[in-house]
Amino acid sequence: MNYSRRDILKLIGLGTLSLGGGVALSGCLPTAKSGSTPVLAEEWRRGVCRFCGTGCGVMIGLRDQKVVEVKGDELAHNRGMLCVKGSLLPEILKLPGRLQYPMIRKNETLERVSWDEAMTLVAERFEAVLRKQGPKAVAFYGSGQLFTEESYTANKLFKAGLRSNNVDGNPRLCMASAAFGYVKTFGKDEPMGCYEDIEHATCFFLIGANSYECHPVLFERILLRRRQNRQVKIIVVDPRRTKTASYADHFIQPLPGTDLLLLNAMAHVMLEDGLIDQAFIGEHCRFQGNDGPTNLEGFRLFLQDYSPEKVAPEMGIAPSQIREIAYLFARSKATMSLWTMGLNQRTQGVYLNTMMNSLHLITGQICRPGATPLSLTGQGNACGGVRDTGSLAHLLPAGRLIKKPKHRAEVEKLWKLPKGTISPEPGYHAMELFKAMGDGRVGCALIMASNPMQTLPDLTAVRERVKKCFTIVAEPFEDARTLEIADVVLPAALWVEKEGVYGQTERRYQLLEKLVDPPGEARSDLDILIDLAKRLKLDRIITAHSPEAVWKEWIDFSAGSKYDFSGITRDRLKEERGLQWPCPTVDHPGTKRRFVGGDDPLVTPGKKVEFYGNKDKKAVIFLRPYHPAPERPTKKFPLLLTTGRVLEQWHSGTITDKIKELSNASGRGKVEINLQDAHRYGIKMGTRVKVVSAFGALTLNAVVTDTPKAGVLFVAFFDAKRLINQVVAPHYDAISKQPEFKVTAVRIEKV
């Protein structure tokens, strides 16, 4: 350090100042308030982020009845962290292009009408179709972005009121396979683990998940865990060298569509090398083959075909890699696997999910802190809103199935319906629904908070077909692609313009309160549903008319079920930072780890672990044979296209793509191509190329990179102006009906 004359002067000056200042201050201190720092917001309220399934708690800063800023909620599970999308939440309410009033399509153009006129028309059309074609001809297509109250009401309105089981939604495209996986293995849906397990895990197995970009807050938490302890290993399995993979200790890069081989080969190694937990299997598991029950020997026999040496060539990886990660997975103190669309959006999605669960079961890496199979969710309320309320075509609320007469009877009793009200036949799942809308089987459909005309596969065909159906779309933004097929457009409220409950990945319900008024005449989706119910004279079914009343009805409904959250009252939600179910009483703190004695109130007292979802209280290990994906590289289509997401965009980009900070960062119109492929086809950075499949084509700019494996192309699906789903094949999982967005055979042509 050195003195300068300025320093000395400053020193003397400050000394003198503080002599006076000190005296003055001692007098005026009581009035010096803590809020003296210049803060933009006048008032801070709690809320939940609008975007992904992580469900981060946010503090929302208000000024003059406007949301002016957000920050992470330090007391919520995300401990004050947000991602770049969440940080820009205040922008979403200021975005241009919000729908302000209802519109009806007259002579090919949408014209402004009053709410009354629009709703009268909607009710008339519903009634007409019901009269003419019966209940099977009306449908609801919902979303994992609707509040729980809204999904529950829609589900009840259609299944109980209109007696139509055609209630499905975009979670079908997103996590149906995960839901089926959990149900098949454990008897009940929803993960048993929680985010806190990240702090206990010593091995992370990320497969088909690009968490760095899609769940940044969780991925940062994983990285924090590893920073704390370098013994913690991260294994990433992905056909692309994603940003997530760049942090991996072990990175496996198989060809798209082959990873059931990997999981089976891992099981093979575990059995061969004695890495399994016999005691756990004996006590808590049973085996199920495709043709009847079997045992560990049967499993061993089945896995003989899946030795790493046999399967590795087809996957394009080395056998030693499989052995390495199988050992790490089985022998780490606590292994946590995380996956998303890479396993779910697959024709073998359910097989992959059950196999993922099975790997945890055979190694006993389950129901301990840090050891858990956790399927990450893409939408904020797909778990709580759609899976729990049973707003899918084959489900009834709280884990019940339409197929089972007992379940139907239970629901009819709870909803106080005459026996036999609920139709015994499951409705159309999303893929079938949009076919039915095209061929006249469905004459009238209500679409809410979802953008199927961008997100469905084989879009060109679908878009042409569905124009015949009378479609009502409730949506906040006027440029959503689905509005192109709408006959009636209803302006919907967004985020904090309405009140409701979000349920995220770890079974945590969180309340989002209404803080501002929606623009123009926009209404909450719940109001629209209640209005529709009134006009269809179904008020006796839809009796709860406020979010609070619906929530009360729903928690009372859940009481006694395996989903019991009757303890999660509205008042508690207002007080606490979300609660995890099962939570059967108002004084229960919520359940961090399900099926674990001492934590989960539904486990028989005295038991350490109990998979009470199945009747015999055992989890099922399935023998799942690998079938190659229907789309394979051929002479005509030698490459495989896989679609996905980027950090700065969320879902179909209807919201995020309008925020310039995000859209400028994400870029657009790009197809990622491997260096080798680029060389082979003579493609350079920025070359205009056409990606062609048997279903459609799209012109994009090539980005030559080492990210995708050789033979693989990658395109993000957020761009509403360049619909990559026109190119994607419409094959779907036979069990979950979830389409395979991840594997489409394509060729690439220079334009």
């Binding site: 000394g15 003198t16 200042g21 003296s36 920050k71 920073r227 900070e661 995000l662 960062a665």
Partner: protein, 216 residues
């Protein structure tokens, strides 16, 4: 010897002189010529220097980590920072030696001599609250997180510039509208961990007394 220690020692000497002068004043008659010579020194000149040096000591001497932890509410922050197991931003900066000395001050630049008047006033307010015990634990940060404290070092580094969204939200970052901590984790233990009565709180309070770390 750094300047703050020098100031400290000079201060102590000046005070001793002041005390001697003061005693001298009390020994002399009010009307003696000696009084007229000593009194202005004892009552005006020496106090002036003592106050100046003392304030310098308040503002600059307190930049050391060791002086920050003297406050019991700051102990969890410092103990956490010294904990190699911890993953808070402070702890990571510390254990990796990204900041060599004055670890608290380097990221909280506001409170030094060059900081704003507002920071000074805040400091005085905290001092009063602390001495009079009119605060509650866990203490909470009520102001706006100042990104400049991060950007001072990180701005312009390749890792920072490589992230596209850093460019697109640059304005928001510069004006602290979007906090660095949103995406990059919490700088210190969260209020939840610093709540008395919890196990984590006891752990955080137990840490050993800290010394400034220097590179050899």
């Amino acid at each position: 010897m750094d300047i703050t220690t020098a100031i400290k020692i000079i201060g102590m000497v000046v005070i001793l002189i002041g005390i001697i002068l003061c005693i001298g004043v009390s020994k002399t008659s009010l009307y003696s010529p000696l009084y007229k010579r000593i009194a202005p020194l004892a009552f005006l000149v020496v106090p002036f220097f003592v106050v100046a040096l003392g304030n310098y000591h308040v503002l600059e001497g307190s930049q050391k980590v060791s002086s920050c932890v003297r406050c019991h509410v700051m102990a969890p922050m410092a103990n956490d920072m010294m904990d190699p197991q911890s993953t808070t931003l402070a702890a990571r900066h510390y254990k990796n030696g990204w900041i060599v000395s004055k670890q608290c001050f380097t990221c909280h630049k506001d409170y030094g001599l060059n900081g704003t008047i507002k920071a000074k006033l805040d400091g005085f307010r905290h001092l009063v609250k602390y001495t009079l015990r009119t605060y509650e634990e866990p203490t909470r940060f009520v102001g706006r997180f100042n990104n400049q404290n991060c950007l001072n070092c990180h701005r312009g580094t390749p890792n920072f510039e490589a992230i596209k969204s850093h460019h697109t939200i640059r304005n928001r970052l510069e004006t602290s509208q979007t906090n660095c901590t949103h995406c990059h984790g919490f700088p210190h233990p969260t209020p939840l961990e610093r709540t008395p009565g919890t196990a984590r709180y006891d752990e955080l309070m137990k840490g050993e007394m800290v010394h400034e770390r220097r590179r050899p």
